[in-house]
C-alpha cells in the first residue's frame, strides 16, 4: 500500500471540483446584479415592481427618465382637458410578451387590477372611472389630483396582461406577462432571474439575447465580482470601494446624487427634546458634513429635498457645526453638568440619548451614530447607539431620541407626500410627535394648491420650517452609483434608482 494513494485521491477530487466546465459562452449574455429581491415579482405587491423596471421587464404608460422628465412609453401622448380628466393615447403595435395585443382595454384591466389588489397605500388615488375605447384611455378622478401622472409612473402600475394573471395567478407572480425588452425565463428568490430578449419588442429586437440577473445583497461581493468580470453591471456599491473600481480600466463608474435622504427624527415626547436650544445645540455639536462625505460617501443634506428637485434647497444649513455655540446654548438653557461626571443633567438626571437605527440601513447608519456619540460626549451629552432588526416597536413606544430613517423624499417628484406623511400633526409616520401649527397650515394650503410652481414653493417653505425646528437632523443625500464593464454600453444612471437597464443596452464592440 503506497502512502501517497490517499493524497492522490484527494487531489483528484479537488481537481474534479475545480476543473468543472467553464461558464457557457457569454457572448450575448449580460450579467447584472440586483441588491434586493423578494419572494415574487408581481408588481402590485409591495415594492416588487421595482425589480421589473430595474431589469427592463415591465413598462408603464409613462415613465420618468434619467433627467427627471416624463417619458411616453406605452402611452404615446396624453392630455388633461380639465382638472379631473386625463386622456392617454395608447401606442399602436405593442404586444405583451405572450403575443396578446396591448390596447386601451388591456391597459384599463391592468390598472384596475393593480388598484384592486395592491397593498401599497401611497399609490391609491381618488379614482372616479377608467374608460377605454380603441386606443384611448380616459382616467377621471373624483377631485383634482395633482400627482396623477407621477403615480401612474410608479412600478405598481406596470402594464401587465391582466387576463393572463387571472388565468394563472401562481405562475404569474414568478413570470409576469409584460411589455418590456426582456422577459422572465426563470425566477428564484435566492439566485435571481434569467431573462431572454423579447423579440417582438415594440422598439425592435434588443441587442442582448440573455440577461443573467443575480441577486447579490452584499455590496462587497458585487464590487469584487465586477472586478473579476463575473458581473457586467451592478449598482449600490459601497462608497469605500468606488476608488478601487474607478482605477479598474475595464470598468466605468457613474455616480451622483439620487433621491434618497437619510435623516434622524427627533422625538418630541422627551422633555429635553422640547427645548429648542437643546435641539439646536445637538445639531451644532456634530460634524454633519464629515459624516455625509467621509462616513456615508454621500452629500451633506440641507433639508429633506435635494437640490436636484425643483423644490430642493440650496442655501446654508440651519445650524452648522460650532462646538462653542453648542456649549453656550446648553449652558443658556440651564442644562449643565453639576455633578462633574462629564455628562450634563436635565432635572437631576444625566442626559443619555438613544440613537436607534435598523440593520438594513447599512453600516453608515451605525457608524454615524458612533461618530455622533463621540462628538456629543465632548459637549457633555451621553448617547447610546442601538442597531435593531426592526424599530417599529421602539418607534411606537417612543423609546428613542433619534431615529435613523431612510426616505425617498419625493417618489412622485412632489413635496406633499414626504411632508405630510412624516411630520403632519397626528399622522401615522410622525413617530416623534412633531407638531407646529404653521407647518400644518402650510400642508393644508399645499393640499388645495394645483399650480405646480406654487406647490414647489410651499414645499421649500415646509422644508425650511422642519430645518429651523430641528424636527429632524437631515444628514445626507445618498450618492447613487452604477458601475459597468466597458464591454457593454447603453447604461444610464437614473436618479430615481427605479431603472437599471432598458432597451438601450448593447454590446460596446458592435
Amino acid at each position: 500500500m503506497k502512502p501517497w494513494i490517499p493524497i492522490l485521491i484527494a487531489i483528484a477530487i479537488f481537481l474534479a471540483c475545480t476543473t468543472a466546465p467553464a461558464a457557457a459562452s457569454k457572448d450575448k449574455t449580460v450579467n447584472m446584479a440586483i441588491f434586493w429581491l423578494d419572494g415574487d415579482i408581481d408588481p402590485t405587491s409591495a415594492w416588487h415592481g421595482w425589480t421589473l423596471t430595474r431589469c427592463g421587464i415591465g413598462e408603464n404608460l409613462l415613465q420618468i427618465d434619467e433627467n427627471l422628465q416624463y417619458k411616453p412609453v406605452i402611452a404615446e401622448r396624453w392630455e388633461q382637458p380639465d382638472a379631473l380628466t386625463t386622456i392617454f393615447t395608447i401606442r399602436e403595435g405593442i404586444t405583451f410578451q405572450n403575443g396578446a395585443k396591448v390596447d386601451a382595454e388591456a391597459c384599463k384591466a391592468s390598472l384596475e387590477r393593480a388598484l384592486k389588489i395592491t397593498d401599497r397605500k401611497d399609490v391609491q388615488f381618488p379614482l372616479d372611472s377608467i374608460t377605454s375605447q380603441g386606443n384611448t384611455l380616459t382616467i377621471k378622478t373624483t377631485r383634482p389630483y395633482a400627482t396623477l401622472l407621477n403615480v401612474l409612473a410608479d412600478p405598481v402600475f406596470i402594464i401587465v396582461d391582466a387576463e393572463a394573471a387571472a388565468q394563472d395567478p401562481d405562475g404569474f407572480q414568478f413570470k409576469p406577462v409584460t411589455t418590456g425588452p426582456f422577459k422572465v425565463d426563470s425566477f428564484s428568490p435566492e439566485a435571481g432571474m434569467v431573462l431572454s430578449q423579447n423579440t417582438a419588442y415594440w422598439k425592435g429586437e434588443p441587442d442582448v439575447e440573455t440577461v443573467n440577473v443575480k441577486y447579490i445583497s452584499d455590496a462587497n461581493t458585487r464590487s469584487m465580482a465586477l472586478q473579476s468580470g463575473e458581473l457586467d453591471v451592478a449598482t449600490q456599491l459601497s462608497a469605500a470601494d468606488l476608488p478601487i473600481l474607478e482605477k479598474d480600466n475595464k470598468l466605468d463608474v457613474l455616480s451622483g446624487p439620487n433621491l434618497r435622504v437619510f435623516l434622524l427624527r427627533t422625538n418630541f415626547t422627551h422633555p429635553w427634546m422640547q427645548i429648542p436650544e437643546f435641539r439646536q445645540a445637538v445639531h451644532s455639536a456634530i460634524h454633519k458634513n464629515v459624516y455625509a462625505e467621509k462616513i456615508a460617501g454621500g452629500i451633506p443634506a440641507r433639508g429633506p429635498f435635494n437640490a436636484l428637485l425643483p423644490f430642493g434647497y440650496s442655501g446654508d444649513d440651519a445650524y452648522p457645526y460650532n462646538r462653542d455655540k453648542a456649549i453656550q446654548l446648553l449652558d443658556r438653557a440651564g442644562i449643565t453638568d453639576s455633578d462633574g461626571n462629564g455628562i450634563r443633567e436635565f432635572r437631576g438626571t444625566d442626559i443619555v440619548l438613544q440613537y436607534i437605527c435598523m440593520n438594513n440601513h447599512g453600516a453608515a447608519a451605525k457608524n454615524i451614530g458612533i461618530a455622533m456619540q463621540s462628538e456629543l460626549k465632548k459637549v457633555g451629552i451621553g448617547m447610546e447607539v442601538k442597531q435593531m432588526e426592526n424599530f417599529a416597536e421602539a418607534a411606537k413606544q417612543g423609546k428613542y431620541d433619534f431615529l435613523f430613517e431612510r426616505w425617498t423624499s419625493a417618489p412622485t417628484l412632489d413635496p406633499q407626500y414626504f411632508l405630510e406623511s412624516g411630520f403632519k400633526t397626528g399622522s401615522r409616520g410622525n413617530y416623534g410627535q412633531y407638531s407646529n401649527p404653521d407647518f400644518d397650515n402650510l400642508l393644508g394650503e399645499l393640499d388645495r394648491t394645483l399650480d405646480r410652481d406654487k406647490r414647489y414653493n410651499l414645499g421649500t417653505k415646509g422644508a425650511q420650517i422642519l430645518m429651523d425646528d430641528v424636527a429632524a437632523i437631515f444628514l445626507f443625500y445618498q450618492k447613487g452609483n452604477v458601475v459597468y464593464n466597458k464591454r457593454i454600453s447603453g447604461i444610464h444612471r437614473f436618479v430615481s434608482e427605479i431603472y437599471y437597464i432598458d432597451d438601450r443596452l448593447k454590446f460596446a464592440n458592435e
Binding site: A219, N220, S223, M224, S238, A240, D241, P243, I244, H287, V290, K294, I295, N359, A363, K366, N367, I370, A371, Q373, S374, E375, V385, K386, Q387
Partner: protein
C-alpha cells in the same frame, strides 16, 4: 520544534506564562492602548497602518490597535465568565449526582443526556434568534449546553473516587459531607476537570467570537474581536486591515490557550499520552 522536546513540566510552565502574558495584556489593555478605542478621528478614516495608528484606523477613524487591546478584555472576560459559570455549575450538579446516586442521579443524567443531544451552536442560534441578539442570551444559551459536559465528567470521577480508600477512610473518620467533598473528593477530581477546562477554553472563545461575528453576540460599538471583524467585512478589499488584525488576534489567543490545554493535559494526567 523545541517546544515538543521539552519535558512536560517545562512545557506547562511556558504555556502558562504565554497565557499569563495574554491575560495581563487583556487586563492592562486600556492602559496600553495608544488612543481611546471609541474616539473617532475624522481626518484619518480607513487609513492603513502608519506610525500614529500602528494597525490603521477603521471606518469612523478609530484606532484598531486600541480597539484590539480593549477588546481583549471583553473577549477573554466573556470566555472566562462563562467558563467559571459552567465549571462551578457542572461540578456542583455532578458532585450532587455522584454522591447522592439513586433517583437524583438518574434524573440529572437523563436531563444532561437529552441536552447533550443538541448541537451547541444551533441551540445558541435558536435562543438568540428567537429571544433576540445580545451577549447575555448567547452566553446563557451556550452555558445551558456546556455545563452538562462537566457535570457528567464530575459524576464519573466522583463515583470512582467515592469508592477509593482515601474517601472510605475519611467516612470512617466521621467527616461530614462538606468536609468529605472538600478534603477528599476535590483534590482527586480537580486535575482531570481542570484539564478538560483548559482544553475547552479555545473552543469557547471561537464559538463566542463566531456568534458575535454573525451579529448574535456582542453588539457594536463595543470593541469585541468577532464583531469588529464583522463590521470590517464590508471593507475587506478597500481596507483589509480591518479584517486581518482582529482575526489574527483571535487566532493567536486561541493558539496560546490550546497550547496551554495540551500542556495541562500532559502535566496533570501523565498517564494519557
Amino acid at each position: 520544534m523545541n517546544l515538543f522536546q521539552l519535558n512536560k513540566q517545562h512545557q506547562f510552565i511556558i504555556a502558562l506564562s504565554l497565557a499569563a502574558i495574554m491575560v495581563t495584556l487583556a487586563l492592562l489593555g486600556p492602559l496600553l492602548a495608544p488612543h481611546d478605542p471609541l474616539e473617532t478621528d475624522f481626518v484619518q478614516i480607513l487609513t492603513p497602518p502608519n506610525p500614529e495608528y500602528l494597525l490603521g484606523t477603521d471606518q469612523v477613524g478609530r484606532c484598531i490597535l486600541s480597539r484590539l487591546l480593549c477588546g481583549a478584555r471583553i473577549s477573554l472576560g466573556m470566555t472566562f465568565g462563562m467558563l467559571s459559570m459552567i465549571f462551578v455549575l457542572g461540578i456542583f450538579i455532578g458532585t450532587a449526582a455522584g454522591m447522592r446516586g439513586g433517583i437524583t442521579d438518574t434524573v440529572i443524567m437523563r436531563i444532561a443526556d437529552t441536552i447533550l443531544a443538541f448541537p451547541d451552536l444551533i441551540f445558541a442560534i435558536a435562543v438568540v434568534g428567537l429571544l433576540g441578539p445580545g451577549i447575555t442570551n448567547t452566553i446563557c444559551a451556550l452555558a445551558i449546553i456546556w455545563w452538562t459536559k462537566f457535570a457528567r465528567l464530575t459524576r464519573v470521577l466522583v463515583r470512582t473516587a467515592i469508592h477509593s480508600e482515601a474517601v472510605i477512610a475519611g467516612q470512617m473518620a466521621g467527616a461530614g459531607t462538606v468536609k468529605l467533598v472538600r478534603h477528599y473528593l476535590l483534590p482527586t477530581i480537580l486535575p482531570p476537570l481542570l484539564t478538560q477546562l483548559s482544553l475547552d477554553i479555545g473552543n469557547m472563545m471561537l464559538a463566542l467570537a463566531g456568534l458575535s461575528f454573525l451579529g448574535l453576540g456582542v453588539q457594536p460599538p463595543t470593541p469585541e474581536w468577532g464583531s469588529m471583524l464583522s463590521e470590517g467585512r464590508e471593507y475587506l478589499q478597500s481596507a483589509p486591515w480591518l479584517v486581518i488584525y482582529p482575526g489574527l488576534a483571535t487566532f493567536m489567543v486561541v493558539v496560546v490557550f490550546n497550547i496551554l490545554g495540551d500542556a495541562t493535559r500532559k502535566y496533570l494526567n501523565p498517564e494519557i499520552s
